[in-house]
């Protein structure tokens, strides 16, 4: 058993994009049982809707431009309210980047698990995106790192492993990534920064 904490949605805000009716009344009551605040809107996304912690939307009738952001770029978890299982509707919902779904008509059961899964999926996706962004930035910095390694190898007469190790410890001392450190190096910087390590014979030549 892990330390899984009891999920708690107290005081979280849900926007429900759906025509009012019995099924939405049941959804609202269930969310209120979980301590949440709810607002029902249709068909317009509220202008000040960014306060929402989660959005439930009518996947049967949702249309392009329903959300004020590009498909897949929702800043909070999206939960699809699914009646129709038509592939076209599912495709539209998935293009928005849904984090989970609830089948219509909404019952008392299913809402809690949909919320737990939506928040967990959204957080996991965001974490993955952060990792991809960090790795992409490092990849973009690779040419500068290679230039710096080659320059230091030449200046100090050492191999690539030793050159990289020196650059890495210099970056760590400045509390920046290797890539950011290398990006700041101009042609004279190697001699300046690594003056005590530069091979004198190479220097005089």
């Amino acid at each position: 058993m892990t330390g899984f904490r009891t999920p708690n949605f107290r005081d979280r805000h849900a926007i429900i994009l759906h025509k009012p009716g019995d099924t939405i009344d049941r959804l609202v009551r269930q969310l209120e049982r979980l301590g949440m605040k709810t607002d029902v809107h249709w068909p317009d996304f509220p202008a000040d809707g960014s306060y929402a912690d989660v959005i439930f939307f009518d996947a049967d009738n949702a249309f392009d431009e329903l959300f004020p952001w590009a498909p897949g770029a929702a800043p909070m978890p999206l939960v699809a309210l699914l009646g129709s299982e038509l592939p076209g509707r599912l495709e539209w919902a998935m293009r928005q980047g849904v984090s989970s779904h609830v089948v219509k008509p909404v019952q008392s059961s299913g809402v809690f698990s949909a919320l737990v899964i939506a928040f967990a999926n959204f957080e996991a996706a965001r974490e993955t995106q952060r990792l991809i962004d960090a790795l992409t930035a490092r990849l973009d910095g690779r040419p500068a790192v290679i230039r710096a390694v080659v320059a230091l190898m030449a200046a100090c007469g050492i191999d690539d492993t030793a050159a990289y190790a020196r650059i890495r410890s210099a970056a760590m001392a400045r509390r920046v990534t290797v890539e950011d450190f290398c990006a700041t190096l101009d042609p004279g910087a190697i001699d300046r920064l690594f003056a005590d390590q530069v091979n004198p014979r190479k220097q005089t030549r």
Partner: protein, 394 residues
């Protein structure tokens, strides 16, 4: 003219948890006899009862018969959460109302169910607030291998973590398995401050007997030092365990036979008159009994057994019961109940040693649970009661 109302009683009175089903059913039937025998009663019940025998497939069929063929709008029944979840779709489809009266693990609030048994904030929370403050926070968890034990132990784990404590072990047995030696050996080695026992039926009885043998070998494991606690052990099971093994251990419940109130004394007289003097009163017996009385009062007030008006009538009143005053919360369909802590005595009853003092609103999703607040409550109780853990002065 009293109104004729058909109701379903769906309890497994045979099979693994038959003793519990029998108690709940007897309580319900006692109430039906009273209501039907009272000339002033506004309701006359016709009871359709089915015994699924603990067989999960049978629940759906039995509920279907009651709802479709017998015209029941109200079904009182099911013991396990698996049984309850099995029939909820049929209950919802027929827009009927299920009365579920057992203590349970929470995380459900169906609009077609009235929950009158204790939810986790009415059993495990008060139990652990008491235990962690007085015995320490090194805890051992056991359970039968199904959702009740898993979930109550998971909540226990969270409560222990909130107080900076430690779970020394967590072991499960299949239903009806009595091979408890490994658990007992582990407990002997790890010496927890107390044990949470979520084993049920024969497994639980075997565990308590084996723990008693351990205490005979090593007095450090006597109930006064390292008690076994639970949230579902009741009067109707104590005879199976025996006074020697059971005495001194603790249980959280919303009802104990010894509850001292005029209504509970009257309930005891009625049970004695109907079932004989030897019949122990359990939370199942009283919960089945009071559910039927609440239903009758709500139907009388609503003038119909249609569930919409019945629910409105339920939400609008306080029911004076042998368990104390009960209200049903409109938001969750759950009963507000008063948690008690009982210690098993040599006469196979429970002495009430702690009480919440008043009814606690059910919080089936633990929405209002706050780990830091819980830890502060425990710390305050520990300071107040003994200037520290009892262990210190042992």
């Amino acid at each position: 003219m009293p109104q004729d109302v058909s109701i379903g009683l769906l309890y497994s009175v045979t099979g693994t948890y038959g003793a519990i089903g029998k108690d709940a059913q007897d309580g319900a039937l006692l109430a039906v006899e009273e209501i039907n025998g009272d000339p002033a009663s506004a309701v006359r019940f016709t009871v359709f009862s089915e015994d699924p025998g603990g067989n999960i497939e049978q629940y759906h069929r039995s509920a279907g018969t009651m709802l479709r063929e017998n015209g029941c709008r109200h079904v009182i029944g099911t013991i396990t959460s698996i049984g309850r979840k099995e029939i909820i779709p049929a209950i919802e489809k027929h827009d009927a109302l299920l009365w579920y009266v057992l203590p349970w693990e929470g995380f459900e609030a169906c609009e077609n169910v009235i929950y009158t048994g204790a939810a986790p904030n009415q059993h495990i929370l008060p139990l652990f607030a008491h235990m962690l403050a007085r015995y320490g926070n090194r805890v051992y968890l056991t359970g039968s291998n199904y959702v009740w034990g898993w979930e109550v132990n998971r909540i226990a784990r969270e409560l222990v973590a909130a107080t900076g404590g430690e779970i020394l072990g967590e072991r499960y047995l299949p239903l009806d398995d009595t091979d408890v030696d490994r658990m007992i050996a582990e407990i002997e080695r790890k010496r927890p401050d107390f044990i949470l026992n979520n084993l049920i039926g024969t497994s639980s009885y075997a565990f308590l007997k084996a723990y008693h043998r351990l205490a005979e070998r090593d007095p450090d494991f006597r109930a006064e030092h390292r008690p076994v606690t639970s949230c579902d052990l009741t009067e109707c099971e104590l005879a199976e365990i025996g006074a020697e093994a059971a005495a001194g251990h603790l249980c959280s419940a919303v009802y104990f036979e010894k509850l001292d109130s005029p209504l509970n004394r009257r309930f005891r007289q009625k049970v004695t008159a109907r079932f004989g003097a030897g019949r122990p009163l359990s939370t199942f017996l009283v919960a089945g009994y009071e559910a039927i009385h609440m239903l009758a009062q709500a139907i009388a007030a609503a003038g119909t057994d249609e569930i919409g008006p019945v629910k409105e009538a339920l939400f609008a009143r306080t029911f004076e019961t042998a368990m104390g005053p009960i209200t049903i919360d409109e938001k969750t369909n759950h009963a507000s109940l008063t948690p008690y802590l009982g210690r098993i005595n040599a006469e196979l009853g429970f002495d009430i040693i702690d009480s919440a003092g008043s009814a606690v609103v059910a919080d089936p999703y633990l929405v209002d649970f706050n780990p830091r607040g819980f830890a502060e409550t425990v710390a305050a109780q520990a300071r107040q009661k003994s200037g520290g853990y009892l262990k210190v002065i042992k």
